[in-house]
């Protein structure tokens, strides 16, 4: 391995840029989260630091660093420090397989706008997501606090439960593409054949699971203030707490990027041929990268929108939804998709599948669910 080869430097530069974009977006997500919350609750929100308060993330970062870094006396010191580090590490690792664009050639060096193009791409995402729970679990246990432990255990069981439905939703996508590589999945959706049109049900399942995996409201039971003080990060202060909160925002952005990759055509956008013909390949690819980031940011907005709209679930409701609701639903989705591919009409099968599901639910509701008469 030559550390100074063009290939290595190109990869290193690209990974550095992706990290910078991810961290910047995560920092400004905190600002927009507060602005959106303020808008929805008819308030003004942060407006002191700089014009419109746009320096608020910087002020928050300074505050986080200046605060006392406290480690509880009876905690397990090394694991207490390892917890937030692991959270951050796993949050940043997922972006390695997200394809941000096709190849571009700058100054004779060909950049592949993807960290690693392995033929198990989507399994990589899945593996790292399933590791993400270690940071919370270790941090919660090492705090030596019962509330933290309860929060950590909630996080672990929640993540494992929703991974199953998520995996089954991905299987329906894999039936279309016939490959695990994220690049192949995106290339199969070029020119407007986005998977969302064929997989509306699968997308809804995936979206709900993404909410649960990111520990976002309405599934933020690991940090449920009314029951657990602060949940798994009760004992954390200073930048260690900052890492946990930051990891959550990174996860939001990355899961938005993964959803855009799987269901919304990745770096595909309307008029890509026109831009390529007018301005050349490089510009078209960079506009595509912008399109992917834009789609991911749209999902970040949906995450925030839902947070300030829906109340939190109860824990048994959460488990009931995951095991008794989403897993049968995603199995139904897999069967419908397979049937649609078998008869050669995946689009019709997807629509008919959703219509049949809604009809079935309505009939079941009318026949078997006893209504309370007010």
């Amino acid at each position: 391995m030559d550390l100074l080869s063009d290939f290595f430097l190109a990869k290193a530069a690209f990974i550095g840029i992706v990290f910078a974009i991810t961290l910047g977006i995560a920092a400004y997500s905190t600002y927009f989260e507060r602005k959106i919350a303020a808008f929805m609750q008819d308030r003004i929100g942060p407006d002191r630091a700089g014009p419109f308060g746009i320096l608020q993330p910087l002020a928050d970062a300074v505050k986080m660093f200046m605060k006392e870094d406290f480690i509880p006396a009876n905690s397990n010191k090394w694991l207490f420090i390892a917890g937030p580090c692991l959270s951050m590490l796993t949050a940043l690792m997922t972006s390695a397989v997200v394809p941000f664009g096709d190849t571009v050639t700058i100054g004779g060096v060909t950049f592949d706008l993807q960290g690693i193009d392995v033929n198990i791409g989507i399994l990589w995402v899945f593996g790292i997501v399933s590791l993400g729970v270690y940071g919370i679990l270790i941090g919660g246990w090492a705090s030596n606090n019962k509330y933290s432990l309860l929060g950590a255990i909630r996080a672990a069981s929640q993540n494992i439960s929703y991974e199953l439905a998520m995996g089954l939703a991905i299987i329906a996508i894999l039936l279309f593409t016939g490959s695990l590589s994220t690049k192949a999945i995106v290339e199969g959706q070029q020119n407007g054949h986005w998977n969302i049109f064929y997989q509306p049900l699968g997308f809804i399942i995936f979206l709900i699971c993404a909410f649960a995996e990111c520990n976002r409201t309405p599934f933020d039971l690991p940090e449920c203030e009314t029951e657990l003080i602060g949940g798994y990060h009760t004992e954390y202060s200073s930048m260690k707490l900052g890492f946990y909160l930051f990891a959550e925002y990174i996860n939001m952005f990355i899961s938005g990027a993964v959803m855009a990759t799987l269901y919304f055509g990745g770096y595909d956008y309307p008029g890509i041929d026109f831009v390529t013909a007018q301005f050349g390949n490089n510009i078209a690819v960079f506009v595509g990268m912008g399109a992917l980031i834009g789609k991911a940011l749209l999902f970040v907005f949906v995450f925030m929108w839902v947070r300030w709209t829906l109340p939190r679930f109860r824990y048994d409701q959460l488990m009931g939804l995951g095991w008794a609701g989403l897993i049968p639903l995603s199995m139904y989705n897999v069967v419908v998709t397979a049937f649609g591919i078998l008869i050669g009409k995946p689009f019709t099968a997807g629509i008919v599948g959703v219509v049949l599901l809604i009809l079935g639910l309505l009939i079941h509701d009318q026949l078997f669910v006893k209504k309370k008469i007010a």
């Binding site: 391995m1 399994l123 990589w124 399933s130 590791l131 246990w141 695990l180």
Partner: protein, 171 residues
């Protein structure tokens, strides 16, 4: 860096972390070392060009089974449920048995001079998902289906065990 150097480094790390699983006093540390051991084994899969096995090893073992292990150990009161220390005689017997097994295995491997894989017949696609899937669904179809039935039975069993009987307390 030559690939054999990576192999030596990874093997050393694997053995060290596996040893720490046994030697660590705190069960939580033990489990975390075990997770690390699984990562090292996944690294070996990458060196063998078996990416699919690497991903599945991480998802299933490190991502699901070990989380449940950690989960159960965290729920214990470790101060109350500390296993009593074994007597030195038991420790000695254990070391002798394990050492004999190690010597036997090494002797077996050295006696059986395994042939080195030839570079001519080497297929780089052997460990890939496509090849693995084709073999599983043609040559080994019956065992594969039987395993799925086994898993199904285990799943039904787990649901039956976890199910609340009528009239039992909610919590």
């Amino acid at each position: 860096m030559a690939i054999s150097n990576i192999w030596y480094f990874l093997s050393g790390l694997t053995l060290l972390s596996a040893l720490m699983v046994v030697l660590a006093k705190n069960p939580i540390h033990s489990v975390l070392y075990l997770v690390f051991t699984f990562f090292c084994i996944s690294g070996h899969y990458v060196l063998l060009n078996a990416q699919f096995l690497m991903a599945v090893n991480i998802i299933v073992y490190a991502g699901a089974i070990m989380v449940l292990f950690l989960f159960v150990i965290m729920m214990f009161d470790l101060k109350k449920n500390q296993p009593e220390s074994k007597s030195s005689l038991t420790k000695l017997a254990g070391s002798v048995v394990a050492g004999t097994l190690l010597v036997l295995l090494i002797a077996l491997l050295r006696k059986n001079n395994l042939p080195a894989p030839s570079e001519v017949n080497f297929k780089s696609q052997t460990g890939m998902v496509e090849t693995l899937g084709k073999i599983l669904y043609t040559e080994y179809l019956l065992p594969f289906e039987l395993i799925s039935i086994l898993f199904f039975v285990a799943m039904v069993g787990a649901v039956m065990l976890g199910k609340r009987e009528a009239g039992e307390r909610n919590f």
